[in-house]
């Protein structure tokens, strides 16, 4: 951090160093590698087994043998309920509690950064991971699919066919959709992380909440609650595979996640700026 830089420059360099630290950590690499293993496992399993009849297993699984790009779509579908929230929970739960646990939090606060800026930078780091995680699944899926299966025009849910470059564009769109989907969970993780100095507690609580939210979303008795659950639109990314693209779920999802970010961001702010930092 340069002492002559203004507050803005200081925040920027703090953000860059946070992201650099995050992506240099061995744990972050392990998480991303675990995510990349999902499409590889799917592709290898389909390659060595007999043809999958349509309608069995997750959507798109039967299409993989004809088109390797479907490995990416299938892997994203499979990783949404547990693997993505799990990795994001680990990163988001670690944000503040991890520093507190290491005893580095007070040093960070001694620097002229200020608590609000530190909170923002930590959240931005978690968001960067939210973007990297689905992208890893998508790229690993496309790569392994291209390596093991032929790649050709992709049939959308509507029956229309798009060329591979456009299919890759849709993959990136889905990654963006999933990144937005995980923003709310990250905010929850950030808040939980300000409550404790035990990072594992915050991580576990975040992951458990994501599972609870998905379970509640399955109970028909709680139908009134469903649109309010942060996991409600997680599987809505299928709408990006229609022709023309159905943006409704993207918009609803973004609005919902923005609400979660506002509420839990404000809670994290309230907690963090009033907290006595002892470690």
């Amino acid at each position: 951090m340069s002492a002559v830089a203004g507050p803005r420059g200081a925040g920027m360099s703090l953000l860059l160093s946070e992201i650099a630290v995050l992506f240099r950590r061995r744990r972050t690499w392990a998480l991303l590698l675990a995510l990349a293993a999902i499409p590889v496992l799917i592709a290898v399993a389909v390659r060595v087994s007999s043809a999958v009849p349509p309608g069995r297993g997750p959507a798109f699984l039967d299409r993989i043998t004809q088109n390797g790009l479907f490995v990416a779509f299938t892997a994203m579908l499979v990783s949404v309920p547990l693997f993505l929230p799990l990795t994001v929970g680990v990163v988001a739960g670690d944000t503040i509690a991890g520093e507190a646990n290491l005893g580095t939090l007070r040093y960070l606060l001694v620097a002229p950064a200020g608590r609000v800026r530190l909170l923002l930078v930590k959240y931005a780091g978690a968001l960067a991971f939210c973007l990297a995680a689905p992208l890893t699944v998508a790229l690993a899926g496309a790569a392994i699919g291209a390596a093991l299966f032929p790649v050709g025009p992709v049939t959308l849910l509507s029956g229309d066919v798009i060329e591979p470059p456009e299919a890759v564009l849709r993959l990136l769109l889905i990654s963006a959709y999933l990144a937005v989907s995980l923003a709310g969970l990250s905010a929850i993780g950030l808040f939980l992380s300000t409550l404790t100095v035990v990072p594992v507690g915050a991580m576990a609580a975040t992951v458990v909440l994501s599972v609870v939210s998905q379970v509640l979303d399955q109970l028909p008795q709680l139908e009134w609650l469903h649109p309010w659950l942060f996991s409600h639109y997680w599987l809505g990314f299928g709408d990006l595979l229609r022709q023309p693209v159905l943006w409704d779920s993207f918009a609803s999802n973004a609005l919902l996640q923005a609400g979660y970010v506002a509420v839990f961001g404000a809670l994290a702010y309230g907690r963090f700026v009033t907290k006595d930092v002892l470690s």
């Binding site: 004809q66 029956g159 023309p244 006595d276």
Partner: protein
Amino acid sequence: MNHRNMGDPLTTRAAKQRRNRAWLRWVPAVAAPAVIAAGVLVGSIPARAGDALADKTPADVLALLAGHNAHTFSGTIEQASELGLPELPATGPSSGAASDDPAASAIEMLTGEHTARVFMDGKAKVRIQVVDRFAERNIIRRDNDVWFYSSKDNSTAHLTLPAHARDLPLEDPALPGTSPESATPEGSMVPPTPQDLAAKFLAKADSTTAVSVGPDVQVAGRAAYNLVLEPRTGGTLVGMIAIAVDGETGMPLSVEVTARGAGEPAFRTGFTSLSLDAPDAALFNFVPPPGSTVEELQFQHPAHPSTGPGVPGYPGAHTDPEQLAAGIKDKAGSYLAGTGWETVVELPAESGAGAKLGTALAQNPLLSQAAVVVPGGRLLSSALFNVLLTDDGRVFAGMVPADRLQATSSAP
């Protein structure tokens, strides 16, 4: 708030001041949910139209509706029903079971919620997409070619309309259940559009129906007249039907059916978004995707319903019992009792409909649970209609109370 340092002798004045100001830090945490709650409240109040629609008599609204000429639009239709029938599992990523048997497919369309996108460019270019989770069912018509596509099993069916059917609308409301659409292969069924239903209910709007115009409503952001049909007889389950008629074009935007004595509609279908611009022409060019199995269907002219374009063996190929009733009305051997809203349709045992329905009931555990054993047969009961399957294989259906069906079935 943090009181951990309370009583600490080292508490300084600055710390005290900080604590006194601490509650301010929680203001955003309270404000954010409050703002969201306020936003939701404001959003739930129906927006008033900029200009109120000119007052119209029921006859004027009926004329507006009858004369509507909006056949070029794209929109999203949502359908929701709470008929009291068991909800079949929604078509999830891996479930294909719901469409495996047609009766279940018909029930699936009748229960729960469905979303469909409709694109129309004139009557001869239509595309309907039934949006399921990670699946889609498509019907695409371009002039004489009609394509059916289901993403679940990547299957395609093709139907060539004869030249004389060129200008025939895909869904002709005057011929419910007999349009080429009813020749859809199993699993490709679409929910009825507001146009279909409005036409069907208006056909009943004779002297047995009281027609009035309620306060204007907003549907898909458009101001609409609220045409209310109320059966004058107490012998039907239907209490009220509200049709939203677009103030500008006369197009039916939504249909709500409320059961007698109920407060909330048991069935609702309507546009959630609507644009009157011509859809992208490329949407109507359909080529079967690679790897898809294509089945050629034979077209049978709707003018000869006795030869039946309804798919033989697929009693569920009609999207609602009303349609089912209307569709089979003309077929030889069926019998009608009662008139207007109290119509009861009977299918004699020879038609085999009873046997088919019986098989469908036996095969589907959810359906067989819903069918209650009553004296003389089994009854499939819902808020708006009843179907009675007698022990001797006859089927009675109608929008009438169950005892009416039983009385009809036991009458000589």
